[in-house]
Symmetry: C2
Subunit: 382 residues, 2 copies
């Protein structure tokens, strides 16, 4: 709990639920007749509605990107390092919108909400959603908020993929795409990790083919395993080494299967704490959205052609120790943007934190990010 | 099934079981009153017993390193690329001994064998064994075979760690240590992957705290998950990309949770085929032996001091795309050997296959390996 909320925080915030009655046709062929999107906003929309930025979240993220929901909150939103007054995404200048993705588990329509057509939880019957589906639903939210064009669409990891997809799908509505620690598509190794996570969840006997909530249970082991594995890919070998090394929890080897090394303790804690706050069906959906993301697929795998229609300027950021989506993957995007003749700023940040670096207070990263966003603010007169 | 056995194979081979009645004190503090070691030999021991080499296996390996057990065998032993007449480990010159490690599941005493003291399967009561324990048991085998000193102790991955440990523990008995794709100890990330694998096995409801065999069941899902995850770490991102890319099994996206991408199909196949041929309790033991391996621990984490007593010359080999035990880890060994004034040959092989490269027919690797082993043969007059 923050005794007092820091001055550079957006402070106490409340989520809003938008109910949308316009049917949404999904890539999978199914249609949602209606749906809810939960979102938060920070800062003020200016008179000409030119200063709005959209924050897109990653696999396990949600709409609560900054500030606190109550004075009892132990932690602020997940991108508190980047969003707030005077920060990289300066809420004194920008109207920040952050939305829980469709299929999420924090209030937007998804597996853990009731299907209005059946009166029952969606559960595993919630349709598989894609990054382009999210862009379509987020565009409806933009319409409702009176935002014709985003000053910037911004995200890290899966969020960065959404920023890129926004620029591709709705080029007239994005001035700037900020694509951080992302990739133009998943590699076979990326998909392989997702498949192991899904197999862990699905093979948990408490998963019950996704109907665990009706049976008042949770696939704790499976979802926990998925999270443990995720954490390995979010951190670099070096960061794990620095943080945990081969330190033993009890000081000496026990020759047993309880926790021996600190890293084991950390992973078990991450597993347990995640299970209580995230939905397994949503986890499955998010990994599928990642696997399917491949905007160049419709352009004969030609990423340059894919990006040739965008109107946004881009900031692309990668981190040297990120092995989930390495700098090489960001450079694929940058090179294609350059080949398509699009303006792009690329920053490869020296950082040992791995993929998670995009959430961390790394000075050089936040400086570059802030400088870029200041120029965006000036461009839109905010 | 080989219609005819290739001329450069050792041909049909039979394993031998050695029963040892001398008690073995283990690092964990427990003692095995007696135990069996299953091993194979290829080639002939020369008159002065100077041409024997020991092959040490990795996590899921066994004593069947080369040749065929019958004309019906679909595949030869796991290191057929390296062992045989005229090959790197030339069976025309060397007497090759390959042993299933204690705690293994292919005939040597381990969790799936009967504890003579109770008349029941050891199961989870089999003691945790360490790399030094293996060296002690392999030394007993050497004694029985009349091998005072190995011309070389050779292994890849966990096998390479055994080769290194032999040179440290019994310096008078090793002329050459061949340490391939190994590391002087596991990193936090390495341990983390092992911990996820163990958690997958232990949380399978069919694991029954390790007593699954008595209950006539197997922790299929858990062991399968461990194997899937293992496979990701054995291959490089590049190798997976080249082999599978983002190829879809059915040609189009199905928007479901069945296999979509070829990589998923591959992993599921690896999972299923492994479960039928490997024991889960052994898998747990092997990962612990890996985690615990840290010969420098007794020398205040000073690897140079650790290696200062060895008398062996060494060949250390790493592969550029190996991210399980990267070239950096091999160089730690090489640098410590050099600092300790020990002769070492180091080869960093350009290879895209990842950790698995040590099992593959990579010409430059096998050439260097063969050249080194020829000099060993000449040295011992074989």
């Amino acid at each position: 709990m923050p005794e007092t909320i820091p001055a550079d925080s957006v402070g106490l915030v409340n989520p809003t639920t938008l109910h949308i009655d316009t049917p949404l046709e999904l890539d999978c062929g199914r249609t949602l007749a209606s749906y809810d999107l939960v979102y938060e906003t920070y800062g003020e929309l200016n008179a000409d509605h030119s200063n709005a930025v959209l924050i897109c979240h990653a696999l396990s993220g949600d709409h609560h990107a900054a500030g606190y929901h109550s004075m009892e909150d132990r932690k602020p939103g997940w991108w508190e390092t980047a969003i707030g007054p005077g920060k990289a995404i300066d809420t004194n200048r920008f109207f920040v919108v952050s939305v829980n993705n469709l299929g999420g588990c924090k209030g937007s329509t998804g597996p853990n909400t009731v299907n209005p057509e059946t009166g029952k939880l969606f559960g595993p019957d919630f349709p598989i959603v894609t990054v382009p589906d999210w862009i379509r639903s987020q565009a409806v939210l933009a319409d409702k908020l009176g935002i014709e064009i985003w000053a910037a669409v911004i995200g890290g990891s899966l969020g960065g993929m959404q920023a890129l997809q926004w620029a591709i799908s709705l080029p007239e509505r994005v001035r700037h795409a900020v694509v951080i620690a992302a990739a133009p598509k998943l590699s076979a190794q990326n998909i392989a990790f997702n498949e192991v996570a899904r197999t862990a969840i699905k093979s948990d006997p408490d998963f019950h083919d996704g109907h665990y909530m009706e049976l008042n249970t949770l696939p704790r082991q499976g979802l926990g395993l998925a999270r443990m594995l995720g954490h390995i890919t979010y951190l670099s070998d070096e960061a794990m080494g620095q943080k945990f090394g081969r330190e033993l929890r009890s000081g000496s080897i026990q020759y047993g299967y309880d926790v021996e090394f600190q890293i084991e303790s950390y992973l078990r804690y991450q597993s347990t704490s995640f299970v209580g706050r995230f939905d397994a069906n949503t986890y499955l959906l998010m990994t599928k959205a990642l696997d399917y993301f491949d905007p160049a697929k419709e352009f004969d795998d030609d990423l340059t052609a894919t990006l040739s229609g965008i109107k946004a300027k881009s900031l692309v950021v990668s981190f040297t120790s990120d092995w989930r989506f390495s700098p090489l993957r960001s450079r694929e995007i940058v090179n294609a943007l350059l080949a398509a003749g699009k303006p792009v700023t690329y920053a490869e940040i020296e950082a040992h934190q791995g993929h998670d670096a995009f959430l961390m207070p790394i000075p050089r990263y936040l400086e570059i990010f802030a400088t870029y966003m200041q120029s965006v603010a000036e461009e839109v007169g905010s």
